[in-house]
Symmetry: C2
Subunit: 710 residues, 2 copies
């Protein structure tokens, strides 16, 4: 896009040709120039007198730096001088730098001394790019000095960036107000700065062999953004691309996996306690409508169904083969599946990479690729797809159909998903174990769920991503339509990362994940229970149409806590217009509080709840309701639950569909009331003011990032 | 303590005598000098030539500032010049400042121009004091510039401070590493800086009429800490003290309230649905062993008990009178209680300050004070004290005795406490409603619970504190022995606060509460449900003896999430010594992971859980265990629960009492398993990896602040 790729190509080829893994400063500046990134005026002097002349030309104080491919850490080598003024100082400085360079490394190739205009004024910021093992090229932005280095106030995005995304990075640091002129500081030219960030993101994308790139500092002032120092590291292997399937291929395979017409069970067994027996029982008991095909060389029938010696003996097509045999028998059976044209193999057995046996896993992946079989697992509990009553797992069947698809990388978390779903009667479309992710991973599933009308929302537990770019691409597509919740485990797995650049050293795993997951439109859940609650609540709630949230509460104490929770979850309490305020006041006692929260006070009859909730639903300026119920004799829990469900249903019949959540404070009857409300599309929770607001907050975070709030 | 109080007294009296609410800079410096707070060298010049001479004497660049009681915002008035060098600049600057002062205010009294040594080097920090409406004198500390002003990285403590507390403030800001020399910066003399903070805390304590005090900036270097600018505001009314009872009086009254020998019910009624009927029923049905005395002028008996026309007609002593009459009848009945010598009145009715009727509440408080009656409420549900089967409330009885006392300012939250306790069978010593807190408040209750052997832990919901100092004093005493959990609602109630000083402007309600609650040793719960879970879990867990936490998990996925939760809760995962590692390895499969988390892997039999848990309990270097259970056929939930309970009980018999918490991932049977574990002293939760770690983290936070971890 108007960039001078040829210059960059030439500089890189020259450096790589010499076997170098770093560019000199002038080379780095050449790259910047080619992509329109302003750098401080400078030139290279070959003699002290040339340096004096250059300094005079630049005007003001200058910095002097050695130019040598052999001296990487110039400051440590005493080869950087700043604030050098006047001919005498420049002459003396030139000599000192050369002397220090020779002392540092007598054999260093020295290409001269760089004379650079010293930038002052504006704000020192850091802009950089690095190569993340998960997401590839990422760019970083932060304010220089203490903020980025001690407080780690830095933000990341996957490159390349659109301009608005680069602009968003400036707002995304804690100290964003500084650039906006806080405390009378200079207001930085945000447009110029965002342009610089965007240009860098394009540069490293166009030339993947650039592994790390520091612009540190960049001086961001009212007049523009200029990089004072450039540092570029190269990796000739940086151009390698991971193996990817086309979207069409993914959809074809995933549809056969998730909606199979026939399922073979490799290792089906009549023996109680065997996995091959549990899977057969669950497929049958779950009510799966397709063909169930037991494969067992030693049995004529399994659980009353004809058994086959090999999957190849099965007449007709086989979409899915569920493996319940020990790991060592998998390769041979998988070859047979290949010969048969099976679309997907579900590898329940463990004993692969997770136990150190990576060779066996590689062998299996190799066989699958050869035959075009997609693999789910190994080391998983299996999977459920409730719209087809498919229960291909050794766990117990699950049959509460609904809108959320849940996936987990870990079997233990999968069991927690199952238990939680059952006890809360969460409506589920799918539960999928991903285990070792030898093949099928989160982006395959997102691609399927995106076009699966049975799925309204996706919740995923993951510890890592095999291919972060493919995930982000799939996530961006689906989150434009449906919310995706991610529980990313291993926040603290960072440890030390070997990094040659400043940006690389700042790029801790979790911060990069956190920023880029947000960039991809997914809602990150802070913990397991939050993921489960979001999964349960999000499909129940309609999408809000605006930011005006109103709290209606019978308990003033709950109102305060609900307000706290709104702030914690980034929700905006509506400034109630005076005419609406008056209408609310009409229903509540004189000592109740209108405003927001609207405190109807504790001793009120059902009609006060009913009138105020109806008003909140009907007024088009209100976009979401948070209800705080207080258990009293006057309005018992089930009375509140029934009236609320009725009023919400009435409104829905009139085409008014706003998210409503409720916090129930009371004796144990509130548990039944909460269930009744949930069954009627109101996300309600007993004994907590936090959960209902967190669930609403998650819905809002998704709706905002999908651009649905206008 | 070696301070020159006389000088301070003289300066303050002079200023107050002139009706001033601010000190001049030289006066402020005099206060600093009297308390050993170093300030930049300076003097006041009456002429340009005197200024030149002073500047020469100080050496280096100087700052010039007007000295005038009439010009408060000197910089705005153009009356501050910095970096003034040499005789010519000083002479010119002197003239300019005088001219600007006259232009700003032609009538301003001008006492000269201050010539001040300009401090450089080290770090600019802010030290200040302000008068908080809740806690009185508080001191603030933060790093200057962006950190404190944009990121609000500032910390508060109640004055006066011990030296170690002042030292702790330096570590308590996010940017603490800067003062410790991060990024090659100068290491500040922490001792000198803490000494300065402590001296300021003593100065404002000794002279309460000092309402605000800014030392901004203070230059903190390796050589010491010197204040460059001083600003002092006065409030002649600042010396007023709230009304307080002696500890002995509190204990006497609270013991009669919480463990009464007789309870009169004012307004006792036979009529179903009346509060006077509910309270009578609950007292009776709860099994209260003392005398229940119905008072009703229109009834001869209530619920089969002889009724009295007035409390004065009751023979013998009356410890407590529970009021169930409408608000307007309270004053007269309270007078009768006074005449009778009733110790405490429990005011259930609403209709007082909370509905705007502050006069009625004031009248009631007046009557109570006159007679020495302590008041609980008004506007409350009443209170429970389970060790005496006392249920003086209109809610339903609660009889699961145990170690936690819960209190709430709001009735709604009280109902949530009751419902949660009942559904989780939380063992409770007391539940107390505080409502309007016209008299009895949190510090009275803490004073009682401190010496109440039935109470092992206290959990309080509060929206404000009437007397923050009394609370902190009581909290410090009890938290040395028992944990206190506080849910402080209204985190965001701040709004704009009119503040004349920098420190005052920084002192947002919640930040002050947060820091000072921590200073007082209480554990702040982030939300209602957390408070309830801490209340349930803390009394169950023994106190840890050290920081070494070990995770033993059957699910690798849970292990990662539990580790995340440990970091989030400030828990330290033990670095397992190699000999202990070897012992763990002895029990787990070769592909399991020792280290920490210890991943015993999913398919293991009960004996693997049993062996590894026993090992963790027996090794004296391990201080706490977090268990991650994964539901499998090999080790079903109840098998795990029973073996864990047994192994923990065995250890306790051998005198080994370590906190053990558990996260259960599995199908719904894990709920029963979690209950079994809780009943046996293991805080266990299904479908969450966060809650068990949060409860353990709360126990640790308390144990650390109580100094129990060594």
């Amino acid at each position: 896009m108007g960039h001078d790729e040829q210059t960059v190509r030439r500089v890189l080829d020259a450096a790589l040709g010499e076997g170098r893994s770093a560019l000199t400063a002038p080379e780095g500046r050449a790259l910047c120039g080619a992509y329109g990134i302003p750098t401080a005026a400078e030139a290279v002097a070959d003699s002290a007198e040339e340096a004096v002349a250059l300094a005079a030309e630049l005007g003001g104080p200058v910095a002097l730096k050695i130019v040598s491919p052999d001296i990487l850490h110039k400051t440590d080598a005493g080869c950087v001088l700043t604030g050098v003024r006047g001919a005498a100082q420049v002459r003396e400085g030139y000599a000192r730098i050369l002397a220090n360079a020779r002392e540092h490394d007598a054999d260093a190739e020295i290409d001269g001394v760089q004379v650079q205009q010293m930038l002052t004024g504006g704000h020192e910021v850091i802009v950089g790019a690095t190569t993340d093992p998960t997401f590839g090229k990422v760019v970083a932005f932060g304010l220089g000095g203490v903020l980025v280095e001690v407080l780690r106030d830095v933000t990341f995005r996957m490159a390349p960036l659109e301009k608005f995304e680069a602009r968003g990075m400036l707002d995304d640091i804690a100290a964003a107000d500084v650039l906006r002129g806080a405390r009378g500081a200079e207001v930085a030219d945000a447009d110029a700065l965002a342009g610089l960030v965007q240009a860098l993101s394009e540069l490293v994308t166009d030339f993947p062999e650039i592994s790390e790139f520091d612009l540190n500092p960049v001086f961001a002032s009212a007049g523009g953004a200029v990089a004072a120092d450039v540092r570029v590291l190269l990796d000739p292997d940086g151009t390698a691309q991971p193996h990817r399937h086309s979207r069409q291929d993914i959809l074809h395979a995933m549809n056969r996996l998730m909606r199979p017409r026939s399922v073979a069970v490799i290792g089906a067994s009549n023996e109680d306690g065997k996995i091959g027996n549990s899977v057969m029982r669950n497929l049958t008991a779950g009510g799966y409508g397709g063909e169930i095909l037991p494969v067992n060389p030693k049995a004529d029938e399994v659980l009353g169904r004809k058994a086959y010696r090999s999957v190849q003996d099965v007449p007709g097509e086989v979409d899915v083969a569920v493996f319940t045999v020990p790991a060592k028998f998998v390769p041979a059976a998988l070859e047979e599946c290949g010969a048969k044209g099976v679309a997907a193999a579900v590898l329940i057995p463990s004993g692969f990479a997770e136990t150190g046996n990576a060779e066996l896993q590689d062998e299996v992946v190799e066989i699958a690729r050869k035959h075009g079989i997609r693999l789910l697992g190994p080391n998983i509990y299996g999977y459920y797809y409730t719209p087809h009553d498919l229960c291909a797992t050794f766990c117990t069947p699950y049959d509460v159909r609904g809108g959320v698809a849940l996936t987990s990388q870990s079997g233990g978390i999968g069991m927690a998903i199952l238990g939680f779903s059952r006890t809360t009667r969460t409506g589920v479309s799918a539960i999928v174990g991903l285990g070792n992710k030898s093949d099928v991973d989160e982006d395959d599933l997102l691609t399927f769920f995106e076009q699966d009308d049975n799925t309204k929302c996706v919740a995923m537990h993951l510890e890592d991503l095999k291919d972060g770019r493919a995930f982000v691409e799939a996530a961006r597509r689906i989150t434009a339509k449906k919310p995706v919740v991610v529980l990313k485990a291993g926040r603290t797995a960072l440890g030390a990362r070997a990094a040659g650049s400043h940006t690389g050293a700042l790029a801790g795993d979790d911060k990069v994940y956190d920023d880029i997951l947000r960039q991809s439109g997914v809602v990150r859940a802070p913990g397991l229970n939050d993921m489960l609650e979001y999964a349960r609540g999000l499909p129940v709630l309609p999408t809000p149409k605006g930011e005006n949230v109103v709290i209606i509460t019978g308990a003033g104490g709950s109102g305060v806590l609900l307000s706290d929770a709104c702030v914690a979850n980034g929700l905006r309490l509506m400034d109630i217009p005076s005419d609406l305020d008056e209408q609310f006041r009409h229903y509540i006692p004189p000592f109740g509080a209108a405003g927001n929260p609207i405190d109807i006070t504790g001793g009120e009859p059902p009609s006060t709840y009913e009138d105020t909730i109806r008003l909140g639903l009907r007024d088009p300026r209100v976009h979401a309701l948070i209800l705080g119920y207080w258990h009293t004799i006057v309005t018992p829990p089930m009375v509140f639950a029934e009236l609320t469900a009725r009023v919400v249903a009435e409104a829905r019949e009139q085409g008014i569909d706003k998210p409503v959540v409720a916090s129930l404070a009371g004796d144990t009857e509130v548990e039944q009331a909460a269930e009744h409300l949930f069954d009627h599309g109101i996300a309600a929770f007993p004994y907590t003011t936090e959960k209902p607001v967190a669930v609403l907050g998650a819905k809002y975070r998704w709706a905002r990032s999908a651009g649905l709030l206008g």
